[in-house]
């Protein structure tokens, strides 16, 4: 828990949870097990991985019998509005009963006939305090018909400026930079890296974004299988290398014994390194003046899967 102090001197205990080992066939069993884990961890913020909603829905047998991930996800998209009522209510209750901020991982959000891959954060009062749509999509996500969000939201977490980064947004550094330049102190990341070769990419995600932006990150990665597709990233609590043991950038990492990573964030440590080595002040804006034009030239053939006028995010 926080010690109540604000400014540069607060501390906050946080955790990223992979879902490995939790019972997921029944929402009630899942909620009871997660409550027990949160009681043990005694954190102010807990972060669940991407696809938490789909994982629970599929494990509960609600998307029908199929071993094909893509087909299963399509079915999930169609019923997500109905399913989300139960999914969101469950996590609202969990946040309220545990008295914590809970990032419930992601689900599919439907709005105006469009689908978004969206993360939700609940406050200790059980209310949604942030909803963040994924802004960059994988080739597969584009083929599934998901749309991109176009806003990034910061929210207050006991005086800490926090934001959510969803899925492969962690590998697109523009997202982290926008958050950092708007003053983000902490980023909660909901990820789901495929087991195998893709896991080698993980340090290029949140770890690298922390190092070039000097915020904290609580990174949750899904561990488990959905319709024969295995996910295998590691949960981690990440800080600037200079404030972590051995300069690794990790305050804690998931291991074989624990399906989570948990650590105490000491803001004074981060403030010190930001003062001694103010990385963001070394940005060279004049050299970036060509970027807007280059970005506009980079419009990809499949990069506009929705009409711009229909974006209703932020309503």
């Amino acid at each position: 828990m926080t010690d109540g102090a604000k400014g540069d001197w607060y501390t906050m205990r946080v955790a990223a949870i992979s879902l490995a080992g939790l019972p997921v066939n029944q929402l009630s069993d899942y909620a009871a097990a997660l409550t027990g884990l949160l009681d043990r961890l005694q954190v102010r913020l807990a972060v669940l991985p991407a696809h938490t909603s789909f994982f629970l829905c599929a494990a509960g047998g609600h998307v029908g019998e199929t071993a094909d991930f893509v087909e299963s996800y399509r079915r999930f998209m169609q019923q997500s509005s109905e399913w989300n009522k139960r999914f969101l209510a469950t996590h609202s209750d969990l946040a309220r009963s545990s008295g914590i901020y809970l990032v419930a991982g992601t689900t599919v959000e439907q709005a105006d006939g469009l689908f978004y891959h969206t993360a939700y954060c609940f406050g200790p009062d059980g209310e949604i305090c942030c909803r963040q749509r994924q802004t960059h999509l994988t080739r597969e996500e584009r083929s599934l018909g998901l749309s991109r969000g176009v806003e990034l939201h910061l929210f207050d977490m006991d005086g800490t400026k926090a934001g959510l980064i969803v899925g492969v947004d962690a590998l697109h550094p523009e997202v982290a930079r926008i958050f950092a330049l708007q003053g983000a102190d902490l980023i909660a990341h909901t990820g789901a890296l495929l087991a195998g070769a893709s896991v080698r990419l993980q340090p290029a995600g949140m770890w690298a974004q922390v190092q070039q932006n000097q915020f904290w990150a609580v990174e949750s990665q899904l561990r488990g299988s959905i319709c024969s597709r295995a996910f295998g990233g590691d949960c981690a609590v990440i800080g600037p290398c200079e404030v972590t043991p051995g300069s690794t950038g990790y305050l804690d990492r998931q291991d074989a014994e624990r399906p989570f990573a948990a650590a105490e964030l000491v803001e004074a440590d981060r403030s010190r390194i930001r003062s001694e080595y103010p990385l963001l002040r070394l940005l060279h804006l004049d050299a970036y003046r060509v970027l807007p034009q280059l970005y506009m030239q980079d419009a990809r053939p499949d990069s506009c899967n929705r009409p711009l006028a229909c974006d209703m995010e932020g309503d």
Binding site: L171, R177, Q212, C241, S247, L282, L283, V290, M296
Partner: protein
Amino acid sequence: MALDGWKERLFRRYLYWLCRPARLRRRLTALIGEGGPVHTSVPLPDGGRLRVAALQVKVKLSKDPLDYAAEVHRMVREAASAGAQLAVFPEYNNIQLLGMLPGVEEMSRAISDGGSSEERREERGNRREGSSRPAVTVADVIRYVGPVMSQFLSVLYSTLAAAYRVHVMAGSFLLPDGEGVVNRAYLYGPDGRLIGTQDKVHLMPVEMDWGLSAGTEFHLFETGVGRVAAPVCMDATFYETFRILELMGAEVVMIPIANPEPYNYWLALRGIWPRVQECPVYGIKSALVGSALGFAFTGRAGVFAPVELTPDGSGVLAEVASAEEEGVAVAEIDLHALREFRLNHPWRDSNPELYVRYFPSVYQA
């Protein structure tokens, strides 16, 4: 300026004599003639595949510039012997020539102390009060000796590139440019011509204190070894460098480094490796190692690629084993495979609407 007395002017004439092109060319002719160029006609990559060499240079101050020339020749020859069509030298690859200056070790104290803004302020104060403390800055030294070095380096790298028919990225040099001093990378073609230069854009705080001027734009060079760029060291800390170059069409980004700190895997990981994953290009990191002028440099030169383009999924095609000793990392890269990968990239995406909404206003906040 403290280096414009008659003694200094006379000494610089001596340096010009020491570094005269005729003397250097005679030495290079002798060196290249010993066994002849080992790879006089390296084929350029019609199939998109080429071999590249990342050089790890152990710094050694040279009283005689011909000693430096011999070292550079040896490394170019080694790269060419390994079949490299592109050889990449590290950052600050001309500080070895400061060994020509008498009292350079005393000067090194001024250089290393120059990293403290507080001391710099104190020094400025002392100067105003007529203190006897030396008031020579790194920029002053480079302005003094730079014109001599500039001519020497140009002849050296141009001659070696042409002799061995390789592209040579000579590393970056501290050199005067007008009133300023820049940290500038040089790229030579296999015909010996200078293809282009790149000034370091993101300066370290210590370099600002030294009085260096930053570059203001990134350059892309169309060459026989693909579309290449050569930003310098700290430029790789910021994704913007690689994004700009990727969107300009870069395929190979060379990063010469000179890190004055003990080697740590994780600290080193903050540079080129994640940048190559974020912006799919091949990356070549060259490193200056060893001790000179009050600094102990470490690093591991290597050739990097998106993890999907490396056989073991590590994102590393070749890397020098030691962080303190000289070495060469040679690897084959495949530009056609890179182009194909970019077209079918599994997760790379673009969201111009998001960028327009936030950039450039967040930069200016």
